[in-house]
């Protein structure tokens, strides 16, 4: 084996290890008892192996409720985002109207404004609308970062599609809406699915807004709930890690399906690092 190949193998192994160690730490801890963790027994592999963190998490905490809140929020936000950014992306990519380039730049700039700058003003707005402390706050605030991002992605996808197909449909007597619904959207499906999954992941993992806008313990989402598990009187690391496993699995599963499209989206250079 030549030295370059050997170096590549070593490099790959190194990176795989670097990525997997923390995941393995999460998974292994989630199968240990409270005592095993507290007294640092069987640190590397859980022996004996236990499910008690999972059952405890499910029965003794509000985790199921948080999971439900997270799921509802992520789905609603994804739907809103997908509809708005498909229409917006289409308009910018295809329709000719004055200031089109300007709108495209504005969308990009909105995407680049970090959410952390906006939390205080947004809180005021939501409070005036009476929307704080309910999931409505999240339905209204998450699109402020998902919509610009997904619209930006979709403008790219729409622009890459040939205009001839649509024009043919228009010539054949289809209305613009029909052309969009029957011709363009099916063609852009991979891009739309990818952007929907980005929107889902962003809202599923969001923390700052959920922390600030919601105080009611029954209304919070999983990331905020995880923090409550530590800052209670006891450190429930086992349950915390079990919760992490449960939270990560859906996203990883979704992502396995669209990994290739996501990478293309990434290559478009339009993703948060």
């Amino acid at each position: 084996m030549n030295p370059w190949k050997a170096a590549t193998v070593v490099g790959l192994a190194g990176f795989a290890l670097l990525v997997l160690v923390p995941f393995w730490w999460i998974a292994s801890m989630s199968f240990k008892t409270y005592e095993q963790i507290q007294f640092a027994q069987s640190i590397y592999v859980p022996r004996p192996f236990t499910w008690e963190n999972y059952t405890g998490l499910w029965l003794d905490t509000r985790f199921p409720l948080w999971l439900r809140n997270s799921a509802i929020t992520a789905v609603v936000v994804t739907v809103i985002t997908t509809v708005v950014s498909c229409l917006g992306g289409y308009a910018v990519a295809r329709l000719r109207f004055p200031g089109r380039e300007w709108v495209a730049s504005l969308i990009l700039i909105l995407y680049l404004v970090p959410p952390a700058l906006l939390f205080i003003p947004l809180y005021r707005v939501l409070a005036e609308l009476g929307a704080t402390n309910s999931l409505m706050a999240l339905f209204l605030s998450y699109p402020t970062f998902t919509v610009p991002f997904c619209t930006w992605l979709l403008i790219g996808f729409f622009k890459a599609l040939p205009t001839e197909l649509e024009e043919a449909a228009l010539v054949d007597g289809a209305t613009r809406t029909q052309a969009l619904a029957r011709v363009l959207l099916p063609l852009a499906a991979p891009g739309i699915v990818a952007s929907a999954i980005f929107a889902f992941t962003l809202s599923w993992n969001e923390f700052l807004y959920a922390l600030i806008f919601i105080q009611d313990e029954r209304m919070i989402t999983v990331p905020v709930g995880l923090n409550l598990l530590i800052y209670g009187d006891v450190f429930h690391w086992g349950q915390l890690m079990a919760a992490s496993v449960i939270t990560t699995v859906p996203v990883v599963t979704l992502y396995m399906f669209i990994h290739r499209w996501m990478v293309e989206g990434l290559a478009a250079g339009a993703v948060k690092g």
Binding site: A16, L112, V113, P121, N227, G273
Partner: protein, 261 residues
């Protein structure tokens, strides 16, 4: 969406009403620390991510089998919830309860005789948040650079080899210039989002110990929601705006140019 962004202006009256906030912060030692911390955190993270990202892209580029599999595997940190990542790393660095990962490994390897509380010292805590942020972010850099490397035509390398250029010179004169554009975009993008990062620091250290890891976003949260000084909280965020105003147009110009091409 439009509504929420126009409402950004609602925060602005504070700016004029309370110019005092600006003066106060300008002379506030805590705020000076916050600025320093934010810059240290951001620059250290971004530098590490670029270097690791380049290494990762080189390794993946040289991988001849299962490249997609490894690319997917290495991207995992990037799709995992930041809160979970922060919690996990916090514990891995922890001395108690029940020893974190690093203490366990070092103790078992006989390099330590008793656990170190990494997170209890200012430097240790800063290093810990940088490491967690780096771990979360480098896969994105790696994948972007890989895409960039794949776009460089192979003939350039062949020609260089024929001309007798070694591996290092090929990397320096072909790969790096080819990646210049991607590197600039990723650095600027990440600079914006890292400078205003909240999740990792809030979850791992809450800005502590003391104010050793307090950054713009966490300090602004602390002032606005724990001390209930909204005006000053907004002012803290606004202090970060000039930097963003400098950087955002740069990034958008690069990204728009890429679109147009």
């Amino acid at each position: 969406m439009w509504l929420s962004f126009t409402d950004k202006l609602v925060g602005y009256p504070e700016r004029w009403v309370g110019l005092r906030n600006y003066l106060y912060l300008a002379h506030d030692d805590t705020f000076h620390t916050v600025v320093r911390n934010s810059l240290t955190f951001t620059c250290a993270s971004v530098a590490l991510k670029v270097l690791t990202g380049l290494a990762m892209a080189l390794v993946l580029h040289a991988t001849w089998r299962w490249r997609n599999f490894f690319r997917g595997l290495l991207l995992l940190p990037w799709i995992t919830s930041t809160v979970i990542i922060a919690l996990t790393w916090r514990w891995m660095f922890d001395a108690f309860p029940g020893r974190g990962f690093f203490n366990s490994v070092l103790l078992d390897a006989g390099l330590l005789t008793r656990p170190i509380a990494f997170m209890a010292t200012p430097e240790g805590a800063m290093a810990a948040v940088v490491v967690a942020n780096w771990w979360r972010g480098f896969p994105f850099f790696g994948v972007s650079y890989l895409a960039g490397m794949q776009a460089i035509p192979g003939e350039l390398y062949e020609a260089a080899s024929v001309d007798g250029a070694g591996a290092w010179r090929r990397f320096w004169h072909i790969t790096l210039p080819g990646l210049k554009h991607v590197i600039i975009v990723t650095v600027l993008l990440t600079f914006i989002f890292t400078l205003n990062d909240f999740n990792i620091i809030y979850v791992m250290t809450r800005g502590g110990p003391g104010t050793a890891t307090q950054v713009f976003a966490t300090y602004s949260y602390e002032v606005a929601f724990n001390q209930l000084r909204w005006g000053r909280g907004v002012t803290i965020s606004i202090y970060a705006v000039p930097l963003l105003i400098a950087v955002i147009p740069l990034v958008s110009r690069y990204l728009l140019r890429e679109r147009a091409a």
